[in-house]
């Protein structure tokens, strides 16, 4: 009787071992968010980074910034933002890049030409529970349009807008864009004054809370 029990236990264990040896390993990575949570995240839209914010970080060499180019290697080789790493959409889940994408030290800003591809990547990463991933608003196209080649606003715009234009022009020079080389020199003194004033005024109430 005693022996039978031992044989029975061994047989069960070996059977369990046989089953586990024959089934394929579960390599699926579970998604962490429910569809409802995902809808909420998207509707809040906190993953978006404005090009002006990004330009500011790039100029200041913010060490926590990590740019991630999700386009094809060919497109990456032609043009990419300074310091960006190329993680094409199809390589997104490879083990090679997991240290870049799943971390809590740096702030990843994903970009593609538009926003669709970057957003696709972001949604997958967000579902996997990876944090600190963001998307560049408007993608590279909007970046070129607003930061590298800013259009001078008309006369009837707010000072804020002028200030932004001024910043973008500076950023454009710093980040190697800009086709208009003649006009900045003329515009500079005009535009340089208002933003300084505006910013000072604006900052006081902001700091209040």
């Amino acid at each position: 009787m005693k022996l039978n029990q031992r044989i029975l236990t061994s047989a069960i264990l070996i059977l369990l071992g046989l089953v586990i040896a024959m089934v394929p390993e579960n390599t699926t990575r579970p998604y962490k968010l429910t569809p409802q949570q995902m809808v909420e995240e998207i509707s809040i839209g906190t993953e978006m980074i404005q090009p002006d914010e990004l330009a500011d970080w790039l100029i200041n060499n913010d060490p926590t910034l990590q740019l991630i180019d999700v386009r094809d290697p060919d497109a990456f080789d032609q043009f990419h933002l300074p310091g960006a790493v190329n993680i094409p959409l199809k390589d997104l889940l490879s083990d090679e890049w997991v240290d870049y994408l799943d971390q809590d030290v740096k702030m990843n800003v994903l970009y593609s030409n538009g926003t669709t591809k970057a957003h696709n990547c972001w949604m997958i990463l967000d579902q996997l529970g990876y944090e600190n991933n963001y998307v560049l608003q408007g993608g590279l196209n909007y970046w070129v349009e607003t930061i590298l080649n800013p259009q001078k606003p008309g006369a009837a715009v707010s000072d804020d807008e002028l200030a932004r234009y001024d910043f973008r022009k500076g950023a454009s020079q710093a980040l190697g864009g800009g086709i208009q080389t003649a006009s900045p020199a003329v515009d500079k003194p005009k535009k340089a004054k208002p933003p300084v004033k505006r910013r000072k005024k604006k900052k006081a109430p902001e700091g209040g809370c």
């Binding site: 061994s10 586990i20 579960n26």
Partner: protein
Amino acid sequence: MGPLFPQEIISGNWNLFLAFIMGILFGFILEQAGFSSSRKLVGVFYGYDTVVLKVFLTAAVTAMLGLLYFSLFGWIDLSLVYVNPTYLWPTIVGGIIMGVGFIMGGYCPGTSLCASAIGKIDAMFFFGGIFIGIFFFAEGYPLVKHFYMSGFMGAPKAYELLGISGGVFALLVIIAAALMFWGGEWAEKKFPREEY
């Protein structure tokens, strides 16, 4: 502790409190299982009592099957389970030192505490010896530092090194365990001891 502390489900204080409770339970069960007897413990080296072998292999097989089935059902992500990094050469030497100490002293570190708690004087000496060992290791660390860090292999898993799947490796371990149980019981009959 477990996934609770690293995932910030419980605080550090709760972690210590749970560790305290589980430590008491662990010690109690060790004592109840007879692991506070040095003669029982070293019996595995002489063959008259192989309960240590059986307990450790049972624990390994249970945990291994549990983890593999949990992973299969998607209840646990094995890639998140911490695996101690391997330093090959110091591990081998450390294992030999540990084994020799085990035979000579009659205890391993945990069971020496357990036996001290029920008042065994040899266990208290053993426990004191641990601190002497710690002292000499700490003071002599610069001398052994190079060796201590040698043979680093990352955190590989045995089945990865062998190039087989985790499930097949598990089956092999189970078969090996069954054979060792059988061998252990055979040894107990072959080298019996009346009282120990």
